[in-house]
């Protein structure tokens, strides 16, 4: 342990701590001004903003590249430091364009923040004297580059070197001609390219997808969990006026660190896709006709009755609570056998060894915990051909498999889903469900970690919280689970998973919780 004094405050930190982190601790969580320092990247020390005054040293030192020493006396806000930071900042700003009104970074820009803290001087550089560089250069499928705005902190190049190992970006030229760019013929097209946008402290790298869509200060953030694959990256849903504009990673060192893949970032588009179901549809004269919720509910309750239902099919894309309720409903309706947790052939794609998992369903682990077996399409087709009555499908798109569609063609299909899939087209009653960003739900990632996603936006049209629909169904067949709200529901789930504390799921820690008892349960699917 090292004892040191920062700004007159004595703190004790472990040996080997960076002075930058020690300063943050001493300053009550407030970072030193910085551009290049990033805890998950190597130290570059190029921005020279985090300079501090250490007593006994003749010159100012950058805190990010200094390891604490016992007895250090550090000043971070002395006049000398402030003057130095201001001058360095002025250097950074010499060629920086006054683009803030049209810059997407405005509002979450390091340069703006630093300027408000240390700048506020009258610029001595004429606008016409600034070195002009390339603006709005498309360098990849997701990223657009503005070289003028770059402060050459080299975060992005380090990211491409150290995290993805692809090394597309580099710094070319020298002096005030130096600029970030890709080599000729190279594109920044790895699956993690948008992370460079996240870590870029200024508006040099911006997202093509989010470009000009919304000013960031208008966005509201909700923490949630990415549903793109079984990894379950922690995300921040940025939304406004009932519309999601982007997903950003939320740091969780147990799961995704500070990163997130580009594929996962684009999953929000499914929420606002054109073919979202928002009304109850009923097949009349061969066509799916929209009807009111009240009528649709009667239709649904009328179809789902013990004896009337021949088979129940769930999907690992549903939340943990829903799977628990679906399983319970299926047991009451059809007994133990004629049900499946999903089609085990679905939801697999290529993964990589960083974050993207080959298993593209967010909740397959939960199926395994619940002994809610998935079955291959052929086996299911065989079982379905033996069943009769109503085929109840919760989510997914099982009837995209021709064999299953053929087998189900004799049955009355009741589909509760989110999009107009092949299953919806084949169904007789279609009930809209809400998607992950539209509900408060629990997800079990491939590590067996239960994570909570909160509701960011409202579901479209008549769609509503899915567990309420399921509870309604259970009540209508006379098996009231007696859950009036989310806390009771979470207690029900905890009881089903035989967790030690029934309220554990109501007090889930920020980073989620992996129940040790269930850690060794086999992963579902292949």
């Amino acid at each position: 342990m090292a004892k040191l004094t920062i700004d007159g405050k004595e703190i004790e930190v472990p040996d080997g701590t960076r002075l930058f982190d020690a300063c943050r601790e001493a300053r009550g969580g407030r970072d030193l001004p910085h551009f290049c320092y990033h805890p998950d990247l190597s130290i570059a020390g190029v921005c020279r903003l985090c300079q501090v005054e250490i007593e006994g040293m003749p010159k100012l030192t950058i805190a990010c590249n200094t390891i604490v020493r016992d007895g250090m006396v550090v000043h971070t806000t002395s006049k000398r430091v402030n003057q130095a930071v201001t001058q360095v900042l002025e250097m950074h700003l010499i060629n920086h364009p006054v683009d803030c009104p049209i810059c997407d970074q405005a509002g979450e820009c390091g340069l703006q923040d630093q300027y408000m803290d240390y700048g506020l001087y009258e610029s001595e550089v004429e606008k016409t004297d600034k070195v002009l560089k390339k603006k709005a250069k498309v360098i990849g499928p997701h990223v657009i580059l503005d070289q003028e705005r770059c402060v050459l902190c080299a975060r992005c190049t380090r990211f491409c070197e150290e995290v993805t190992g692809t090394g597309e970006l580099g710094i070319y030229n020298r002096g005030d001609r130096a600029e970030i760019d890709v080599a000729p013929g190279v594109e920044l097209d790895n699956n993690y390219s948008l992370n460079t946008v996240d870590i870029c402290p200024v508006g040099a790298l911006t997202s093509r997808d989010f470009r000009f869509q919304k000013r960031v200060w208008l966005l509201k953030s909700t923490s949630s969990v990415c549903n793109g694959c079984a990894t379950g990256c922690n995300v921040r849903v940025d939304h406004e006026g009932g519309r999601i504009y982007r997903l950003k990673p939320r740091r969780n060192d147990e799961v995704n660190g500070p990163w997130m893949c580009d594929k996962g970032r684009m999953t929000y588009k499914d929420v606002h896709r054109e073919d979202r179901l928002d009304r109850v549809l009923v097949r009349r004269e061969g066509e799916l006709q929209p009807i009111s919720w009240a009528e649709g509910r009667q239709e649904l309750l009328g179809a789902v009755k013990p004896g009337g239902v021949g088979y129940v099919l769930a999907d690992p894309g549903r939340s943990l609570e829903e799977l628990v309720l679906i399983q319970r409903l299926a047991t009451e309706l059809v007994g133990e056998e004629p049900m499946a947790g999903g089609v085990s052939d679905d939801g697999h794609d290529e993964g990589d060894d960083l974050l993207l998992s080959a298993d593209r369903r967010p909740n397959r682990k939960a199926l395994a915990w619940l002994d809610f077996a998935e079955k291959p399409a052929e086996a299911l087709a065989g079982e379905l051909s033996g069943a009769s009555g109503v085929l109840l499908v919760f989510g997914g798109d099982p009837l995209a498999h021709q064999a299953l569609a053929d087998a189900a063609s004799r049955m009355r299909v009741v589909y509760l889903g989110t999009h107009r899939t092949a299953t919806a087209e084949a169904a007789d009653v279609v009930v809209p469900l809400s998607m992950w960003a539209e509900k408060d739900a629990l997800w079990v990632n491939k590590q067996g970690r239960i994570q909570r996603g909160q509701r960011a936006v409202l579901p479209p049209g008549d769609a509503r919280e899915d567990w309420r629909v399921l509870v309604d169904l259970l009540q209508s067949i006379g098996h009231d689970p007696e859950v009036a709200g989310l806390p009771a529901l979470r207690r029900l789930v905890a009881a089903r998973l035989e967790l030690e504390d029934e309220n554990l799921l109501n007090r889930l820690p920020e980073g989620g919780y992996a129940p040790p008892r269930l850690a060794d349960a086999p992963t579902g699917g292949r």
């Binding site: 803030c100 009104p101 049209i102 405005a106 603006k135 709005a136 470009r211 000009f212 869509q213 000013r215 200060w217 208008l218």
Partner: protein
């Protein structure tokens, strides 16, 4: 603390018998109102009332009237869709949809720029917030009329080509 030498506690005088009998006081009140009546009866022209549609008051150059969008020298709108005005607007009456301009030197521009004149409170904060001097309220138009609520939502074309007429 006393304000400008005024006493903190205002003491009220008890009414004397004549005053609390009301009738003399009412008569005095009648005299006051009657004086106004007679004076105005014989000086109808000196009344401060402005006969509005026939006469109009002159407003100062800083009067905030209906908005307009200014243009660059080449006639293109100055607005760069930075949303400062819509952010600062207390009535939330400005809706801007930004887009990529075909001209690379302009980069960002407002594809749509709608102002709901019914919601606008004419506070002028949008003028102050605008970094490009793109929105101004110097048209001096304050008579704004339309047949439907929808017509009060004016678009970019309207705001750029502001004629001096209140009808929408």
């Amino acid at each position: 603390m006393s304000y400008k030498g005024l006493p903190d506690v205002v003491t009220t005088r008890r009414r004397n018998l004549l005053e609390s009998a009301y009738f003399t006081e009412i008569a005095r009140g009648l005299a006051v109102t009657g004086r106004h009546l007679i004076r105005n009866l014989f000086n109808t022209d000196k009344m401060p009332t402005v006969q509005y549609p026939d006469q109009k008051r002159d407003y100062g150059p800083r009067f905030r009237g209906r908005h307009r969008l200014t243009q660059r020298e080449d006639g293109s709108p100055r607005c760069v869709a930075c949303m400062m005005c819509s952010t600062v607007c207390p009535a939330d009456c400005i809706e801007i949809i930004a887009g990529e301009h075909p001209d690379p030197t302009i980069e960002k521009y407002s594809k749509e720029f709608n102002i709901d004149l019914l919601r606008c409170v004419y506070c002028g904060l949008c003028e102050e917030a605008c970094p490009c001097d793109a929105i101004r309220m110097d048209t001096g138009i304050y008579e704004i009329a339309a047949e439907t609520r929808e017509a009060f939502v004016v678009n970019k074309d309207f705001l750029l080509n502001n004629d001096k007429d209140g009808t929408l």
